[in-house]
C-alpha cells in the first residue's frame, strides 16, 4: 500500500514539474528568427522594432495561456489521484481495524479455551490470506 502511494505520488510530482516547465523560446532564437524574417521581407529598421515587440508579446501571451491550460490539466490529475489515494487509505484502515478485532477475538477465545472458536478463527485467517 505504501509503495503504491509513494510511487503514484512521485508520478504526480513529476506531472506537476512537467506542468511548470512550459517550453520557452530563448531570446537568441527569437532574435535570429526576427532578423531572418525582416531581411526576407525587406522592412525598415523602425519596422523591425515593431515586429520584435509584437513577436515578444505574442510569445509571452502564448506561454501564459499554455501555463494556464497545464494548471487545469495537473489539477484534474491531482484531484483524481487524491480520490484514489483517500480510498486506498480508507481500505487500509478498514483492513487494519479488522486485523485488530480478529486479534482481540483470538485473545478472547484463547482465554476461554474454546478450541472450536480457534478453528473458526483460523479459517478466517486462511480466507483472508487467500
Amino acid at each position: 500500500m505504501r509503495i503504491v502511494i509513494i510511487v503514484s505520488f512521485l508520478i504526480v510530482v513529476g506531472l506537476v514539474f512537467l506542468a511548470i516547465q512550459v517550453p520557452t523560446l530563448d531570446q537568441k532564437k527569437i532574435d535570429t528568427a526576427i532578423k531572418e524574417a525582416v531581411s526576407k521581407s525587406q522592412v525598415t529598421t523602425e519596422d523591425e522594432d515593431t515586429v520584435r515587440q509584437a513577436v515578444t508579446l505574442s510569445i509571452e501571451k502564448l506561454e501564459s495561456a499554455q501555463q494556464k491550460r497545464l494548471k487545469y490539466l495537473v489539477s484534474a490529475y491531482l484531484v483524481i489521484w487524491l480520490v484514489f489515494m483517500l480510498y486506498l487509505v480508507r481500505l487500509g484502515k478498514q483492513q487494519q481495524a479488522l486485523d485488530q478485532r480478529l486479534a482481540q477475538l483470538e485473545q478472547e477465545t484463547s482465554d476461554s479455551g474454546e478450541e472450536t472458536m480457534i478453528d473458526s478463527h483460523e479459517s478466517i485467517d486462511r480466507t483472508q490470506s487467500e
Binding site: Y72, L73, A76, V79, R101, T109, H121
Partner: protein, 224 residues
C-alpha cells in the same frame, strides 16, 4: 493473494505506466482544447467504469433478491462503493474541464445534473444501509440498488434525451484522431483493471468482516 489477482495487479500496473506514456507522449494534442483535452482520458474512462460498477451492483442486487445469499449482497455493496469513488472522480474532474471549456465550474445541463443525481442516489444507498438493521439492510439496499441503476442509462443518453447543452453527444469526434481513441481504450482497460482489483480487495474485507461478526456473536452467546 491468489495467482490470478497477482497477474491482474502486475498487468494493471504495467498498463498504467503505458497509459501515462500514451497520454503524454503518443496521443496528439487536440486542436480545440489543447492540453486540457488530456483530462478526457481519465474523466470518460471513470464514467465508463462507474457504469460497470453500478452494473455489477445491479446484477448482484437482483441475484440477492432471487437467491438471498449474503455473498451476493457483499459483492453488490462492494461494487457500489467503488462505483461511488469513480462517480466522485467524474464529478470532480468534470468541473475542471468545464471551467476551461465553458468558463463555468458547473451548469445544470442534463448530463451533469443526472450524474449528480446518480451520485446522490448511491450516497443514499449507503445511508440506507447504515440506518437499517441487518435483516432489512440487505433486502432494502438490493431494491434501492436496482432502482438507482435505472439512472445509469439516463446519464448515458442524457445528451440524446434532452438538449445536448455543453456536453458533446455520445461518440462525438471519436473518429477524428486514432491516437486519441487508442490511448483512451488503454486508459479504459486500466480503469477496468483497477475496478476489478478494488472489487476483489473490498469484497474480501467485507466477507471477513461478515464472518467475524458471525463468530463473535456465537462466541458471546456461548460465553454468556
Amino acid at each position: 493473494m491468489g495467482k490470478s489477482v497477482k497477474i491482474l495487479t502486475i498487468v494493471t500496473a504495467i498498463l498504467l505506466f503505458i497509459s501515462l506514456f500514451l497520454i503524454f507522449g503518443y496521443a496528439e494534442v487536440e486542436k480545440t482544447m489543447l492540453e486540457v483535452q488530456k483530462i478526457f482520458y481519465l474523466h470518460v474512462s471513470a464514467a465508463m467504469t462507474l457504469y460497470l460498477a453500478f452494473g455489477v451492483n445491479f446484477i448482484f442486487s437482483i441475484k440477492y433478491l432471487i437467491k438471498r445469499k449474503s455473498n451476493d449482497d457483499l459483492l453488490a455493496v462492494s461494487a457500489a462503493e467503488i462505483g461511488l469513488v469513480f462517480c466522485t472522480i467524474v464529478l470532480l474532474s468534470g468541473p475542471i474541464w468545464a471551467k476551461y471549456a465553458w468558463n463555468t465550474w458547473w451548469n445544470w445541463e442534463a448530463r451533469l445534473t443526472s450524474t449528480l443525481v446518480l451520485w446522490l442516489m448511491y450516497v443514499g444507498y449507503f445511508i440506507l444501509r447504515s440506518a437499517l438493521a441487518e435483516d432489512k439492510r440487505k433486502l432494502y439496499s438490493a431494491v434501492l440498488g436496482i432502482i438507482a441503476f435505472f439512472n445509469v442509462p439516463i446519464v448515458h443518453f442524457a445528451t440524446k434525451l434532452w438538449e445536448a447543452g455543453a456536453h458533446p453527444e455520445r461518440g462525438a469526434k471519436m473518429n477524428t484522431l486514432p491516437s486519441i481513441r487508442h490511448t483512451w481504450l488503454v486508459v479504459l482497460i486500466v480503469f477496468v483493471g483497477l475496478f476489478s482489483l478494488l472489487l476483489i480487495l473490498q469484497y474480501q474485507i467485507k466477507k471477513t468482516e461478515s464472518r467475524y461478526e458471525v463468530i463473535r456473536r456465537k462466541h458471546i452467546e456461548e460465553t454468556s
